[in-house]
Symmetry: C2
C-alpha cells in the first residue's frame, strides 16, 4: 500500500456535488498573482485595512511543554507539570518567507480560504506524511482548514446534499445520509433541516455493522425507494464512537468501504478522538470478566504497527493507532474531518478536512463565501505553539537552532506527537478509573425485603444470594465515553412501571444528593424516532471533563445511586420534577447546548 | 423616536424563512440548565475535554492605547503612538460571575452559539445603547456574534432564501435579491450559487436610488414575473459603499424603507465602514470645484446630531454619524451585519448580526450546526482589550478601580469609541491625500502632436490650449475607496480602439514601472452581465491599505501613468500580456482572493 506513482488517481465524484456546489465559480485569479510580486507595486485594488491600525502589537502566551502529561505506557516520564514556554508573536516577523511567517501583520489581515500559510502547511504535512502515510490514490489528498469539525461537516453537507422540501419536491428526489444507530446528534441536526432521509445502521461494540439485520448491506440492498433515493452519503465516527466508545477494526472498514464502492457512497469520517485509542480496554475487560481477548481486531494491541506493510508514520505512537478510512480509500470517496478541539481546545474553532483535491477545491469555494478562514488569532497561536517563530536560515542547521532563543522554538512535529500521546495517557487513565468502578459495582445483591438492620445479620449468607446486574457496558476502546445499558428488566419494579418511566426515574435519582450526577440519556443519541425505543435504557457517561482524581469518586456516586434506585419500592418523588427536563434532553439541538462537544 | 413601551413589536416575518430554516428545531434544553447549577453536580453528560489539557496557561498581548491615533477634528490629541497596555488572560478568572469571566477555562471550552458571555454582552450593550439608541420597535433588537460579516451574510442568505435549481424547479419559484448596481462581489458570490436572481438597482453618488429609471420603485413596480418571484431580499452597503464610497442620506433611507414595507422586502444592511464617515469630503470637493455644498443630505456635516430628536448615543462622535437603516426600522425587517474587521483586524473573523429577536433566534440555530461560535482566542482577546479583567466587586466603585492593576483595565466603552474616532481620522486623512492629488491631476493639456522638445517653447501658450479631463470621481463620504470613472472618450485613441481595450490597456500601463499601481477594475464590481458594460470605465482605488505617508506619492504615480497613457500613439505592448490577467480579474470569486476584504 505504499504510495507510488503507479497508484491510480481518485475517481471523479463530481456527480455527487449539490446543484449549489456545482454552480460555484472557480477563481481564475491565480493568473493575477504575478502582479502582486512586481517589486514595488502598490496594491490599490485590495480593500484591506492598514496593519498599523490593528491594536495588538504582540500576542503572547505561556504554554505547556509537550511532555507535560504522562503517556499510557509510561515509557516517557512526564516533566514538571508547571514547566512552560513563552510564545511571542510579533507584529512583523523577521522572515520574508510567507510559508514561515507567523506574525500579526499577516495573521490578522485578510487571507485566502487556505488560511495562514504556516498553519495550513503544518496540517498538510502532518496529514500526508504522518497521520495517513498510506493513502492508496495517486498524489494523495489535499487539506483545508475549517472552523472545527462542525463547520467542516456543515460544508461537506452543503457540498454533497441538495435540499429537499416536501411541499415542492418529488419524493424520488429526496436524498439520504447513513449513520450509526446511536450518533452524535449535532451532526444529525446539521443534515436534518435539509430534508434528507436520516438512515440509521445497526451497530455492535465496534461500531457500524456491515452485515446482518439492519447492517449496511441489508439497508442498501433492501432500500425502499418509496422513501427517496438510496443514500449516497455516510456520516460515521469510527474511533471512540460518540456515544458508544467503539472502534472500527480494519477488516470491518474494508467491508464497509467495499459496500460504499458498490453503491457509490461518499464517506464523511468524523474523527475527533483518533489519538485517544485505549489498548488496555479489551485486556482489562477480559481480565475482569474472565474471557479471552478474542476480538483482537476491535482493540489496538500495544505496539501494533498498522503501517508495517507500508510507509511508517515515523512515530511508534501513530503507527500503533487504528488508521482512518483514508488508508483504504482507493477511490478518494472519503472526506475526513479533523479538529483541534480535543488536542488543543474546543474554543480554538480550528480543524481541517482531508479529501481528494477535487473535493477540497469545492470546499474552498464554499469557505470563501462563508467563514473565509479560521480566526487569525487561533491560527497564529497554534502555529506558533507547534512551529515556533521561524527565521530565514535553513531550519535543519544545528548552528541555526542554537542561535534561536530557547523560548520560542515551538513543539515541532516530535513534540506535537508527544503531546498527543500524553493526552491519550490522561484520558486512558480516566477511562480505566471509571470502568474499574463500574465493573466492580454492576451487581446488586438481591435483597428485596430485607431492611438495613437485618442486613448485617445476614452478611455470612450473602454469597449464596442471587446477584442482579444493574447495567452492562463495553470498555471503550477510544474516545471520551462509556455507553452504559441499564438492565431495567432486573429492577424489582420492572413489572410495575413501563421502561421509559423507570429509565427516566433513575436519571432523576442520580441528579439528586448525595449522588449528584448528570448523565447523558441515550435518547439524546437516537437519530430517528424508530431508534428512540432502543436508546431508552442507555446512558452516556463522559469521563473526560472531570479531574482525574475525581473520576473514581463520581463513578462511585453513580453506582451508589443505582443501588439505591434498585432498592426503591416506588418512583415517588422522581417523576414530577424530572419528566419535563428529561423530555427536554431529547431535543434535537440539545447536544451543543449541553456542552456535548463533538 | 425615543424607544418607549408604546412602540409596537416587530412584525412577523417568518414567512420569509427558507424551508430549511423553518425546519430547524428550537432547543428546549434551557429547562435543563437548573441541573447544571445544583451545587456539586458532576456533569457526566457533556462531552467536553478537561481544561487542564488546554496547552495554553495564559494568553497575553501588548495592545495600543485607545488614543493612539488622532481623530479627524484634532480636538483630542494623540498620545505617544508607542504607548501600550499589557493584557493577560488567565487560565481561571477570579470572578465567579459568568457574565464577567474572561479566562481560558471558559473561552477555550465549548460554548453555546451565543459565544463568550462578556463578549456577547459588550456587543449587545454597544449595539442597543450606543450605536442604535433609537430603534422604533418594542424591546429593541437582539444581537448574535458571527465569524465576521461574510459569515453573517452567509447565514442570513441561508435563513432567507430557498435554493433554486433550473433543472428541478419552476421559474415561478425562483427568488431574487436586490443590490446596488456596483457591489462587493463576494456577497454576490454567496447568493448566486443558490440560483437566486441577482437584481441590480441604479445608483447615484449616495448609493441606491429609490426613484427614477432603474431605481428601486421602477424595478419593483415593473417586475417581470417571467424571471421568477419579485425579490423579497435586499443586500446593501449604505455607508462608504463598496466600491463607490457613497453614503445614503436619511431621507433616501426613508424612501427605500417605505418601498421595502410596500413590497415586503427584508433589508440586509452590510455596514463595515459605519465609523469611517468623512464629513470633509463634500466640503473639499466643493472647494476644489467651486460648487456649493448643496447636497448636505449626502454629507454628514461636522457636529451633526442625528439623534437630536431621540435618545443620544452618549457620544458626540456616534451622534454625528449617519445612522443605520435600523433607525427607521419600525417593522423589524432590517438584518444588520457588523464586523470587527475594520475596527480591530480582519483576521479576527469576528462580527455580529443585529435584528429582531425572532430572526436572531433562527440565526442562532444555524450557528449551532455550522460555526458554533467564533474562536475563543479572538473572543477572549477582544473582550479583554475592551473590558479588561473584571472582578466581582461593584465595577462602578472608585475604590475598586484603584485596586485593579492599571495594566489590565481595558479600554472600556469610552476608550472603544475614542479608538473608532482615531481610525476615522487616519482613513479620512488618507482619503484627503488621495483625492487632493486626483483632483489636481485630472486634466491633461491637449498636445496631440507636440513632442517634448517643442513643449518648453510652447509653455506660454499652454493656458489657451484645451484641457482634456482624464477621469472623474466623487470624493467618498465614507469607507476605504475612491470610485474613479475614466473619461475614455477624451483619449486621443478613442476612435481607434474600442472602449474595453482602451480601459484594459490603461490598467496594464499603470502596473508597469515607473507607475507600479494595481487598480481594482470596475468590472470586478458588476453583479450581472448587464452591468459589465457600464462598469468598464470605472476603477476602484483603495487608500486604506497603504501607509499614510505614501498615499500622495502612489496617487501621483497613478496620475502620471494616466497622463503617459493619454500621450500614447497606440496600445503596443499593453495588450498581449495584460488581457488574460485582466480577464481573470473579472472572475466572480476574485474579490476575496485579491484580499479585497469587505
Amino acid at each position: 500500500m505504499a504510495r507510488s506513482t503507479s497508484l491510480p488517481p481518485p475517481v471523479d465524484l463530481s456527480h455527487h456535488f449539490s446543484s449549489t456546489t456545482k454552480r460555484r465559480e472557480a477563481s481564475s485569479i491565480k493568473e493575477l498573482y504575478k502582479y502582486f510580486f512586481i517589486p514595488g507595486i502598490a496594491n490599490v485594488a485590495g480593500g484591506m485595512p492598514n496593519p498599523s491600525y490593528f491594536p495588538f502589537d504582540t500576542l503572547e502566551a505561556t504554554a505547556a511543554h509537550p511532555h507535560r502529561f504522562q503517556p499510557s505506557d509510561a515509557s516517557s516520564k512526564p516533566e514538571d507539570i508547571h514547566a512552560t514556554d513563552r510564545l511571542t508573536i510579533p507584529k512583523e516577523s523577521q522572515t520574508t518567507n510567507l510559508q514561515k511567517k507567523i506574525d500579526l501583520a499577516t495573521a490578522l489581515q485578510y487571507s485566502t480560504a487556505e488560511g495562514l500559510p504556516p498553519m495550513a502547511a503544518f496540517v498538510r504535512q502532518f496529514t500526508r506524511q504522518h497521520l495517513h502515510p498510506n493513502i492508496p490514490y495517486a498524489s494523495g489528498p489535499d487539506t483545508l482548514l475549517t472552523c472545527g469539525s462542525t463547520d467542516g461537516f456543515c460544508k461537506a453537507i452543503e457540498a454533497f446534499t441538495n435540499i429537499w422540501d416536501p411541499d415542492r419536491d418529488w419524493t424520488s428526489q429526496r436524498e439520504g445520509i447513513l449513520c450509526e444507530e446511536f450518533v452524535y446528534m449535532n451532526s444529525i441536526a446539521t443534515a436534518q433541516p435539509r430534508g434528507v432521509n436520516i438512515v440509521p445502521i445497526a451497530m455492535d461494540a465496534q461500531g457500524m455493522r456491515a452485515s446482518g439485520e439492519g447492517g449496511l448491506a441489508d439497508v442498501l440492498e433492501n432500500w425502499d425507494f418509496r422513501r427517496g433515493r438510496r443514500p449516497h452519503l455516510m456520516y460515521t465516527i469510527t474511533i471512540g464512537q460518540n456515544p458508544t466508545g467503539g472502534t472500527l477494526s480494519v477488516p470491518r472498514r474494508k467491508d464497509i468501504y467495499a459496500l460504499c464502492q458498490k453503491y457509490d457512497i461518499i464517506i464523511i469520517e468524523d474523527d475527533p478522538y483518533w489519538n485517544l485509542q485505549f489498548p488496555s480496554a479489551m485486556e482489562l475487560e477480559a481480565q475482569y470478566r474472565g474471557t479471552s481477548v478474542a476480538a483482537a481486531t476491535t482493540s489496538p494491541a500495544k505496539k501494533r504497527n498498522y503501517n508495517a506493510h507500508g510507509k511508517s508514520s515515523g512515530y511508534e505512537f501513530l503507527d500503533s493507532l487504528v488508521p482512518s478510512y483514508l488508508s483504504v480509500d482507493s477511490d478518494g470517496r472519503v472526506v475526513r474531518l479533523d479538529t483541534f478541539s480535543k488536542t488543543i481546545a474546543p474554543g480554538c474553532r480550528l480543524g481541517w478536512v482531508t479529501a481528494q483535491p477535487a473535493v477540497i477545491e469545492r470546499l474552498a469555494r464554499i469557505t470563501e463565501t462563508s467563514t473565509q478562514a479560521p480566526s487569525g488569532f487561533v491560527q497564529a497561536m497554534v502555529a506558533d505553539l507547534i512551529l515556533g517563530q521561524q527565521v530565514d536560515e535553513n531550519p535543519n542547521s544545528s548552528v541555526h537552532r542554537k542561535k534561536k532563543p530557547a523560548a520560542d522554538q515551538g513543539w515541532q512535529m516530535d513534540g506535537w506527537v508527544r503531546w498527543l500521546g500524553g493526552l491519550r495517557g490522561g484520558y486512558e487513565r480516566r477511562m480505566q478509573d471509571m470502568c474499574n468502578v463500574l465493573e466492580e459495582g454492576k451487581y446488586i445483591i438481591d435483597l428485596p425485603d430485607v431492611d438495613i438492620a437485618e442486613e448485617d445479620a445476614q452478611e455470612s449468607a450473602w454469597e449464596v444470594i442471587d446477584k442482579r446486574q444493574m447495567y452492562d457496558f463495553s470498555w471503550p476502546t477510544g474516545g471520551m465515553f462509556v455507553w452504559v445499558k441499564i438492565c431495567l428488566e432486573s429492577h424489582p419494579l420492572y413489572s410495575r412501571y413501563p421502561s421509559d418511566r423507570l429509565s427516566k426515574a433513575l436519571w432523576v435519582q442520580l441528579t439528586m444528593a448525595p449522588y449528584l450526577c448528570l448523565l447523558g440519556p441515550g435518547t439524546m443519541f437516537a437519530p430517528t424516532k424508530s431508534v428512540v425505543g432502543r436508546a431508552l435504557p442507555y446512558y452516556r457517561l463522559c469521563f473526560a471533563a472531570m479531574p482525574e482524581e475525581e473520576v473514581t469518586g463520581i463513578t462511585q456516586r453513580m453506582v451508589e445511586g443505582s443501588r439505591a434506585f434498585w432498592q426503591r419500592k416506588n418512583l415517588d418523588g422522581l417523576e414530577d420534577q424530572g419528566t419535563d427536563s428529561f423530555q427536554a434532553l431529547k431535543g434535537q439541538q440539545s447536544g451543543n447546548m449541553l456542552g456535548m462537544g463533538c
